[in-house]
């Protein structure tokens, strides 16, 4: 499809001017066709230079769409950029800097851009009006079937499903003054703030400084305004405490003066250079913020105002002046303010034939108009566009007087430049909960009182003049520096500018009539949709937004919100400020999820915690499992054995058998270890643990259980008395952090009078448990200082120190596996030496290292509880350890133990479970019920907390669980059901201790 235009290499490129570098041609493709642009182009400017004006299809009606703006507010020209893992949908062609080899694809069309089968939606438009979803599908059977198809038809671009190959980085920054926006007012603010010596950060969304000055033919001090920009940049770069970040969008203003910004480090390159992040997410903490975010032009809703070739007037000037592109050959300009004249003059200067300037205002005069008249440009006052001709591209428009005094007259053109006035970009101001006020003179909302430490300047405040913007910037930059404690010299003199006098805007929001007068181009919301919402009672702006989707696109209604709200005000017959406006929310423009994730992804999603013996495990066949942040050996594969179900079962079985019959060694460094010292250490322990600790002798360990204040079991572990006023507490791996925090809580807040200090020594000590009937032989062989570890010298629950391989160690005779067992603690940097010494000493007994699977099976065989049982719901009585609670003292949680819920005889209590058939695995997490065939919802008796799917010692699967009535049901059968996996296993309730109930082995 030829778009009615000459095709050729940069046929629409001006021979001179602009910021592009004509020596650096860049080739790129759009929808598979190759084109050439120049360094300095955006994808949008390069497409326009090549005469490509049709770039997309609209969201709902699939109407042909072109390039509407030249900035971040673009609602139409959304394309997929790049291919493969880097494919990114919904990128704005107006913000995508061109690079060599850029591949862009139009989206939301099928089979092709010029012929889109879904354009029938446009003809069916009367059925797809606002509220279509709600009305048609409310309570509709099979809604989900239709929803999928409707969403496919109304889709946006396609994201990639491949992992993101790029790096992202988070940066934290602090400054005295943050300036958002590198236009004239922002530059001026940076200058005065920077000269004060304050730490200043200036962020600018585009690739260079200057803001609108890059797109206008302004002068400062008699020279092109960009000379002033260059001089200012030079000075800013020379100030050591001023940091300028270009290609950086401040997207959100958060609590306590924190601004989120995304820096596009490498988006203007084909791929990021090695090791360089694609984007950086900045968290900027500023003492003062100057918002110089500029303003966004808006359009006027006339019939078919979405056709490719209808463009904002400011964008037309950007394409001409910044990119040296003629966005058309014959233009009509329509405006309700003097920017129409400015645009017409720029068009004429670029050799575009200006057919007419249509001024919606009644006749009047201004400097701008006089200049236009002098240039011989036709002007029609009090008129508007009533029709646009052309479908895939504009071929002309009808213009008629607003008062109906004459019939519409056709004007041929391929470009309609439209200006409906400007809306200050108050987004960040309102993120910070700043107030906004309606300015009748500007026909716009302008910033009101700030809630945080920020001030708006220049166009962001509704100040559109260049000299006055610079003056405001100078003042705001200096004021911000002073508020941050940096005195400033007198304000610089505002340079001379050449600014023709203007006539004020006269608001007009929609002209002509017809179904397709678009308010919100991205969401296909029309003037009629606003009227419909009003008729149906959705009259508040918040309801209007949700009913019509006004402003809900990726552009958040930057060009459209105010038009919709003003039309609603007209419909309600109320002034605009009374109708109000919706609040902008972060992000200002879309931010890639990867930028938020930063480096916290993949292996570093959370910090990885490794034991001191980690490298030994890795070198000796360990398969690791995550336990919180820790990586722990789950089991060890013999060298050369591929991992798999059978290999895993064989490894685990072998590890359990080694411990039960000879000896094994397991890394238990992950257990929490807390060093407690002081005259009141014993009293502290006595209050924390439910069982008594005052009688614990030096050189002895004791098992302890601690409760939460609400009486639920918190954690368990052994605590050893190392000296008169010195204890070492151990906690479970899972609760190491919160037990430490609890102890700090009691010592700092609740019992500050206790003379005791506690600190975590988890990382100081590498810990390993040597377990099995041969454990003592191995330990004795490894000890090199003659320390006696015989049963008499080191009985069960005894503690001693010794040396192994020259390393001073602590030895605790405690057992989790139920076997004769010693826990050896060595200073962590020597952990591997001690581990290897024990492995060497155990060689004669075929010692095996064992992992968490074997450890878990053996503790289930012994009926030992762990975090799977102590899950924040169980009491001491539930675990069968109620007898341990001391009646002679007060301890944390005791105050709640008598509450009725805790003494209910039907509470589930700890039991053992075995499959009736002697072989079926019992799934952990299964629910225990009387009859799996009963109608749902069926009564629940309890649940399975831990399961050993194989128990080499017992010979069949076993499990622990909680069942109502507990051991009173011993011998009964119930069913363990897991409906999600359609599993039901009949199980017999048994004692929770399957192996050595008398504990002869561990005392052996």
């Amino acid at each position: 499809m030829i778009l009615g235009r000459l095709k050729g290499v940069n046929a629409f490129r001006l021979p001179t001017g602009g910021e592009i570098d004509r020596r650096r041609a860049l080739s790129f493709s759009f929808d598979g066709k190759s084109y050439t642009g120049f360094q300095g182009d955006t994808l949008a400017s390069a497409l326009l230079a090549n005469g490509v004006t049709l770039v997309g299809r609209s969201f709902k009606y699939h109407r042909p769409r072109g390039i509407f703006t030249a900035g971040p507010e673009e609602p139409n020209a959304l394309v997929e950029l790049r291919q493969g893992a880097r494919r990114e949908p919904n990128t704005r062609a107006t913000m995508a800097e061109l690079f060599h080899g850029l591949e862009a694809t139009s989206q939301n069309r099928w089979p092709s851009l010029a012929f889109d089968a879904m354009e029938v939606n446009d003809l069916a438009g009367r059925f797809l009006v606002a509220g279509f979803y709600y009305k048609t599908f409310m309570g509709f059977p099979g809604w989900h079937f239709y929803e999928q198809r409707i969403r496919a038809a109304a889709g946006m671009g396609r994201g990639t499903v491949e992992p993101d190959p790029d790096r992202y980085e988070r940066m934290s920054a602090h400054c005295d003054v943050l300036i958002v926006g590198g236009g004239p007012s922002g530059l001026a603010a940076a200058l005065t703030a920077g000269r004060s010596g304050a730490r200043v950060i200036l962020v600018e969304e585009t690739d260079g400084l200057g803001g609108r000055l890059r797109s206008e033919r302004e002068t400062i001090a008699g020279r092109p305004a960009m000379d002033w920009v260059a001089r200012t940049r030079q000075e800013l770069d020379s100030l050591p405490e001023v940091q300028t970040l270009t290609r950086t969008t401040a997207f959100g203003y958060y609590d306590d003066n924190m601004i989120g910004a995304v820096e596009r480090v490498a988006d203007h390159m084909p791929v990021p250079p090695d090791h360089v992040p694609r984007q950086r997410l900045w968290h900027i903490r500023a003492r003062r913020v100057v918002l110089a975010t500029g303003a966004i032009e808006r359009h006027i809703a006339f019939p078919d105002n979405d056709r490719p070739g209808v463009m904002l007037a400011s964008a037309v000037r950007s394409y001409i002046n910044r990119f040296a592109v003629r966005p058309g050959r014959r233009a009509v300009v329509v405006a309700n303010n003097d920017d129409g004249y400015r645009t017409a003059l720029d068009l004429a200067a670029a050799g575009v034939e200006v057919m007419r300037v249509v001024d919606t205002r009644p006749a009047g005069t201004s400097d701008w108009r006089v200049r236009c008249e002098a240039a011989g440009i036709d002007i029609q006052d009090g008129a508007a566009v009533t029709k646009v001709h052309g479908r895939l591209a504009v071929i002309g428009c009808d213009i008629a007087p607003l008062d109906g005094s004459d019939r519409p007259r056709f004007e041929p053109c391929d470009l309609i430049a439209v200006s409906g006035g400007w809306s200050p970009a108050v987004h960040l101001h309102t993120h910070a909960l700043g107030a906004i006020e309606w300015s009748e003179g500007r026909a716009a909302f302008v910033p009101g009182a700030a809630r945080q430490a920020h001030a708006s300047v220049g166009a962001a405040r509704g100040t559109y003049g260049l000299a006055s913007s610079i003056a405001e910037g100078f003042e705001a930059g200096a004021a911000a520096a002073e508020a941050a404690g940096f005195p400033t010299a007198s304000r610089p003199e505002v340079p001379a500018t050449d600014e023709p006098g203007q006539r004020p805007i006269r608001a007009i929001w929609a002209t002509g009539d017809g179904k397709k007068r678009f308010v919100d181009l991205q969401d296909d919301v029309t003037v009629d949709d606003i009227a419909l919402a009003h008729r149906e009672g959705f009259v508040s702006v918040e309801h209007l937004k949700r009913y019509t989707t006004l402003g809900m696109g990726t552009d958040q209604g930057k060009t459209s919100n105010i038009i919709g709200h003003a039309l609603m005000a007209e419909a309600r017959g109320e002034p605009i400020p009374q109708v109000g406006t919706t609040r902008f929310r972060p992000p200002y423009t879309p931010v890639a999820m990867g930028a938020f994730a930063g480096g916290d992804r993949g292996r570093h999603h959370a910090p990885v915690r490794r034991s001191a013996m980690h490298d030994w495990h890795a070198a000796n066949g360990a398969v690791f499992v995550e336990a919180g942040h820790w990586l722990r050996p789950q089991y060890y594969l013999a060298e050369g054995t591929p991992d798999g179900k059978a290999a895993m079962d064989a490894a685990i079985t072998g590890e359990v058998r080694a411990v039960r019959h000879a000896v094994g060694l397991v890394d238990v460094s992950t257990l929490g270890k807390i060093d407690i010292q002081g005259p009141d250490a014993a009293e502290l322990l006595n209050r924390l643990y439910a069982n008594g600790f005052k009688t614990l002798a030096v050189g002895k360990a004791r098992y302890g259980l601690m409760l939460r204040e609400d009486g639920i079991v918190h954690d368990d572990g052994t605590t050893s008395r190392l000296g008169e006023h010195h204890y070492l507490m151990t906690t479970t791996t899972a609760h190491a952090g919160d037990v430490m925090a609890q102890i700090e809580w009691y010592l700092q807040v609740v019992w500050p009078e206790l003379d005791a200090r506690a600190c975590s020594v988890t990382d100081q000590w590498a810990a390993m448990a040597l377990a099995g009937p041969k454990a003592r032989d191995v330990l004795a062989a490894a000890i090199d200082d003659g320390t006696d570890v015989s049963d008499g010298a080191l009985p069960f629950m005894g503690v001693t120190t010794a040396r192994i391989a020259g390393v001073p160690v602590r030895i605790f005779r405690i057992s989790f596996s139920g076997e004769l067992s010693y826990e050896v603690n060595a200073p962590a940097d020597w952990g591997t030496h001690v581990w290897e010494a024990l492995m060497d000493a155990g060689e004669a007994h075929d010692i095996r290292p064992y992992g968490t699977e074997a450890m878990g099976i053996m503790r289930i065989e012994k009926g030992h509880v762990t975090h799977a049982e102590l899950d924040g719901r169980v009491t001491l009585d539930d675990t069968g350890m109620g007898r341990m609670a001391s009646s002679k003292k007060w301890f944390v949680g005791r105050g709640m133990l008598d509450k009725p819920a805790f003494t209910d005889p039907d509470r589930p209590k700890l039991v053992g479970l075995v499959p009736v058939d002697g072989r079926t695995r019992i799934p952990a997490g299964a629910i225990l019920v009387e009859d799996p065939a009963a109608a749902v919802p069926m009564g629940k008796l309890g649940h399975v907390s831990s399961s050993a799917y194989l128990s080499p010692t017992v010979g069949h699967p076993i499990a622990l669980g909680f069942v109502s009535g507990g051991l009173e049901r011993k011998g009964q059968t119930v069913w363990a059901v897991f409906p999600l996996r359609k599993l039901a296993v009949e199980v017999t309730i048994t004692d929770p201790v399957f192996v050595d109930p008398q504990g002869d082995r561990l005392r052996g």
Binding site: Y254, D255, D256, M258, H283, R285, L433, E709, D710, A741, E744, W745, Q748, V749, V750, P752, W890, R894, G895, M896, D898, K899
Partner: protein, 92 residues
């Protein structure tokens, strides 16, 4: 993200802290003398004021001290902060 001024470390980002509960509650000083109702009140009952609220935050990534914070829960503004035994009043 709010900033909390730790009395020992100075102003720090919220993500260095973990929330540690309502600071208007006091644990019964003599636990043995406290009634079931006293314990019920201490463990379970919390007011939910719209406005300034006293809270504890644990500076887990910093000094590991508990910090008392007066925070307006409707605006997130931290009005004052101090040690656990301090009496806090709003004001900069």
């Amino acid at each position: 993200m709010i900033r909390i001024t730790c009395p020992h470390c100075g102003p720090r980002d919220q993500d260095e802290f973990s929330y540690a509960g309502d600071a208007t509650k006091t644990r019964p000083a003599d636990p043995a003398a406290a009634s079931a109702a006293d314990w019920h009140d201490y463990v379970y009952l919390r007011d939910n004021p719209a406005g300034p609220h006293l809270e504890f935050w644990h500076h887990v990534y910093g000094c590991r001290h508990y910090v008392k914070v007066l925070r307006d829960v409707t605006s997130h503004a931290v009005l004052a902060s101090g040690r656990p035994d301090e009496t806090l009043e709003a004001g900069e």
